[in-house]
């Protein structure tokens, strides 16, 4: 992020991670370099990565789930948990089968 944010890790507390699935209909969100926001291309929900993934605009009903990160002494980063339910899942574990 280039600045310290809540939930950020690393020397400047500026490293954050989010689910890439918009909470509206699950389209991929991407970082818009110009605004620094995470934007869903399908229906234009906008999330602020500096504010824990808060929705600032659009149809998304929830904030973007933020991934809790851990850094070890070698500097390797691990995903350690997730705050909020990722679109499409019934829980945040990755096994399971498709709903028809």
């Amino acid at each position: 992020m280039g600045c310290s944010v809540e939930g950020g890790i690393g020397a400047d507390k500026g490293i954050v991670a989010y689910s890439m699935f918009c909470t509206h209909l699950g389209c991929a969100v991407e970082l818009d370099q110009a605004s620094g926001m995470l934007v869903c291309e399908c229906h234009q929900s906008i999330y602020d990565p500096k504010q824990s993934g808060k929705v600032v605009e659009g149809p998304a009903p929830n904030n973007l789930p933020m991934i809790s990160l851990e850094i070890d002494k070698n500097g390797d980063i691990y995903a350690a948990g997730v705050a909020g339910l990722i679109y499409g899942l019934r829980n945040n574990l990755l096994d399971g089968e498709e709903v028809r």
């Binding site: 209909l25 699950g26 291309e41 229906h43 234009q44 929830n62 909020g84 019934r90 829980n91």
Partner: protein, 783 residues
């Protein structure tokens, strides 16, 4: 307003700004302590609908799309546990993924139940999409576990007049008290001394009951709809051209069209599912559909229009009729219109030609008034010509809620028609739509149209002694509240409401109303799909449907014809009255058909068991006997002569820009706030009702161009007062490039009393449109 309140509001902003930067998680979603990912406790649904869940069909009550939703109800603890980690495939974009906010806990028949309201994957009108407003359908249901616990539950009256307290009483006493007071006023001053302001979206049965009681029961002609000041036709300009103000397209046009011409309507924020269909399904984001957007504000849709290969025409507010005439000037001058369509389906083209070829409408001259470069006007005309017969020409309140609304509507309507945009797949000339439709039977006013004078004019003359606010928060919706609120406070004020509000606080009688989901309400989308929104839960306390309240009152006043046993009986009374209506015939649609129609409803006009999907189409001609609603079956272009001497800023009712009031204040609807924001923020108790939405827009804001901001000396985040000749309102400044210099923009109907734009609007209304100007000259000062 006390300083105490003022400070708490300001502090709130500071706190929420700090919280925003600091909070890890919002929206009440669970937080998990760090641990290895696969070891972390799963975030999961508490319960999912079991096979034995009660199932209902409904449609969203907010905007004109009326997206279809499924409702599931089951006893708490009997639902399915999420087995393993079933997932909804993301590539299918399934709206029916049961987001946890779609489920709430409530009571039914005294038992704890879970209620889930989830977008229906089979809904045609929405393409199984939804907006953030509909996403909170479940969260705005009544539950003691939610902020909605403040719903009104008992009738209340002021037994001893204005100075006595509002006390809870029985229905019998409340109805009797209200009937006695109404009767006394009628006896002393005549029926017109009783007025009603009603929400014309407020469900077919309710609107019918009120209009019947007012017009044919007590015979008062003092009525205003929620969007206007009296019983007028806000679509008068469109109706003069095509014969009716009804919307004429069907939902699939949003994916079939080649070009969308959109003026005075933020379709993205106020008709979202249709916009998403054009954008994503129809491929506007890839240029498959182009868009010409006409708006004074550079909103997201402006970027989308440009990206689609279309155009953004940043217009000076109030000048749409000039732009429309100028586009027609180019189309006619260069023979770019649809000659065959004009010849076969219109009258009055010579009048149109003579009017629009006047050099005042040449693009160079139109540029001076509209602020749109002549080259862009010419490019827009060429694009419209290229896609003639394939364009959706859509306009709505941004151009209509003005004292020059008639001229604006005529200009765009005629422009759409001479290009043959009517009744074809992907082509229409239509209002875009606002809220769902809730009024069908249109009884005539008792003393003829001349008795219908502006409700404000009647208040000024002291002719109104009692006002009934019916599915309408008048202290947000009426214009010039700075002047009229103190006067209405003194009247015998009756209010039907679901929440305690600023208006109920001033009332002599408060009737608690049952609402969406609590009985079988009826509305129609603006592509004319009639829906029953099935009742699935009980109303809180003693709350009753509005139609029931009217019926009790009417009977207590000795009137007959109000013995409806249920909402179906009113529907049957109404549908019989629509027989033969060119645009609105629902007479053959039976209750049982609607109950079986799923979330799609039944499209009308409906004749010989056949729905007409597009008005003004060959199909319309086949079923209804003529193509357009006018008796001759043609579209009329003669009304364009109204543009001959038209000067938007010298209209006698239009307020003027001066040194003292140098800025035009315009307004827009926010994505998150529907209607009066009644499910967003409660201005009676000053609490957010859907906190997750509220945190996105915790205060009114005013967008100011950087150039104006420098002159005024304000920066983003400053609290400012906007002062007009009528009154004052407060907002937080947002300095940005949304508007051009000289124009500032606020949220319309923002539900905090001191920040609602109607504190500064004027009540001067167009004598036929019943509309007042939502463009107001203001000055801005830092406070």
């Amino acid at each position: 307003m006390s300083n105490e309140k003022e400070f708490s509001r300001r502090d709130l902003l500071k706190v929420s700004a700090a919280a925003a930067a600091g909070a890890c998680v919002m929206n009440g979603m669970p937080v998990f302590a760090a641990g290895k990912f696969l070891e972390a406790k799963a975030v999961e649904f508490a319960e999912l609908p079991p096979a034995h869940a009660e199932t209902y069909d409904t449609a969203c009550r907010y905007c004109h799309v009326m997206c279809g939703y499924k409702v599931y109800i089951w006893p708490k603890g009997t639902g399915l546990k999420p087995d393993k980690a079933k997932f909804y495939p993301v590539e299918k974009m399934r709206g029916d993924w049961p987001n946890p906010i779609f489920t709430i806990e409530a009571k039914k028949n005294g038992k704890d139940v879970l209620i889930m309201i989830v977008p229906d994957n089979k809904d045609v009108a929405s393409g199984s999409n939804y907006s953030v407003r509909g996403a909170f359908n479940a969260q705005s249901l009544y539950s003691e576990k939610l902020p909605t616990r403040i719903r009104l539950k008992k009738p209340m009256i002021r037994r001893g007049g204005k100075t006595s307290p509002l006390v809870e009483v029985s229905w019998d006493e409340a109805i009797g008290f209200c009937a006695d007071n109404f009767q006394k006023i009628i006896n002393q001053y005549g029926p017109d001394a009783i007025g009603a302001v009603y929400g014309d979206w407020g469900y077919l049965q309710n609107t019918h009951a009120l209009l019947k009681w007012l017009f044919t029961g007590i015979k008062s002609s003092t009525l205003a709809g929620n969007g206007y000041l009296f019983w007028g036709d806000e679509s008068w300009g469109l109706a003069d051209v095509v014969g009716a103000g009804t919307r004429s397209f069907t939902a699939e046009d949003f994916t079939k069209t080649k070009l969308i011409f959109c003026a005075g309507k933020n379709l993205k924020d106020t008709g979202s599912s249709w916009y998403y269909q054009a954008l994503s399904t129809g491929g506007m984001n890839k240029g498959d559909i182009k868009m010409i957007l006409v708006d004074p504000r550079r909103i997201q849709m402006a970027e989308d229009a440009e990206k689609s290969g279309g155009l953004f025409l940043q217009i000076k507010p109030g000048t749409d009729a000039i732009l429309g005439a100028s586009l027609m000037h180019v189309l006619v001058m260069h023979d770019l219109y649809d000659k065959d369509f004009v010849q076969r389906h219109t009258t009055g083209f010579d009048t149109l030609k003579q009017t629009v070829l006047n050099s005042r409408f040449a693009p160079d001259n139109a540029e001076k008034i509209t602020g749109i470069p002549a080259a862009k006007i010419i490019a827009a005309a060429e694009m419209l010509a290229k896609h003639k017969g394939q364009t959706m020409v859509l306009f709505e309140k941004g151009i209509m809620h003005q004292v020059v609304g008639y001229e604006n509507e005529v200009a765009y309507s005629a422009m759409g028609i001479i290009l043959g945009n009517a009744g074809k797949p992907g082509a229409c000339t239509s209002r875009a739509g606002g809220h769902p439709r809730g009024t069908w039977a249109d009884p005539p006013a008792p003393n003829g149209a001349s008795s219908m004078r502006s409700i404000c004019e009647k208040i000024d003359k002291g002719e109104i002694k009692s006002l009934w606010a019916y599915i309408s928060n008048i202290y947000i919706q009426l214009p010039n509240l700075s002047k009229y609120k103190p006067q209405i406070d003194k009247m015998f004020l009756v209010v039907n409401e679901i929440y305690p509000t600023d208006t109920t606080a001033a009332a002599d009688v408060v009737f608690p109303a049952a609402t969406w989901g609590e009985w079988n309400t009826i509305q129609a989308s603006e592509d004319r799909r009639l829906h029953i929104q099935q009742g699935f839960m009980e109303a809180p306390g003693d709350a009753k449907p509005d139609w029931w309240i009217v019926a009790q009152l009417a009977k207590r006043m000795g009137l007959s014809g109000y013995d409806w046993k249920n909402e179906q009986e009113i529907y049957d009374e109404v549908r019989a009255q629509t027989k033969g209506s060119f645009t609105s015939d629902i007479s053959e649609i039976e209750w049982k058909d609607l109950m079986k129609s799923g979330t799609n409803g039944i499209q009308f006009p409906y004749k010989n068991r056949r729905s007409i999907s597009r008005l003004y189409s060959p199909e319309t001609e086949e079923v209804m006997g003529r193509r357009f609603k006018h008796d001759d079956g043609k579209a009329h272009l003669e009304p364009v002569k109204a543009l001959a001497d038209f000067d938007p800023f010298n209209h006698p009712l239009r307020d003027k820009i001066t040194n003292e009031y140098p800025l035009w204040m315009i307004m827009h609807r926010a994505n998150e706030i529907w209607n009066t924001g009644y499910n967003f923020y409660n201005n009676g108790l000053n609490v957010p009702l859907t906190p997750n939405l509220y945190e996105r827009l915790p205060e009114q804001t005013v967008s100011i161009n950087p150039k104006d901001a420098r002159t005024i000396g304000v920066k983003s985040g400053d609290w400012v007062a906007l002062n007009s000749r009528n009154g004052s309102m407060k907002a937080v400044a947002k300095v940005n490039g949304l508007t051009a210099p000289g124009v500032v923009d606020v949220m319309s109907l923002y539900p905090k009393t001191e920040s609602t734009p109607n504190m500064v609007t004027s009540e001067k209304a167009d004598p036929k449109l019943a509309e007042w100007d939502r463009m107001v000259p203001v000055n801005i000062v830092k406070v």
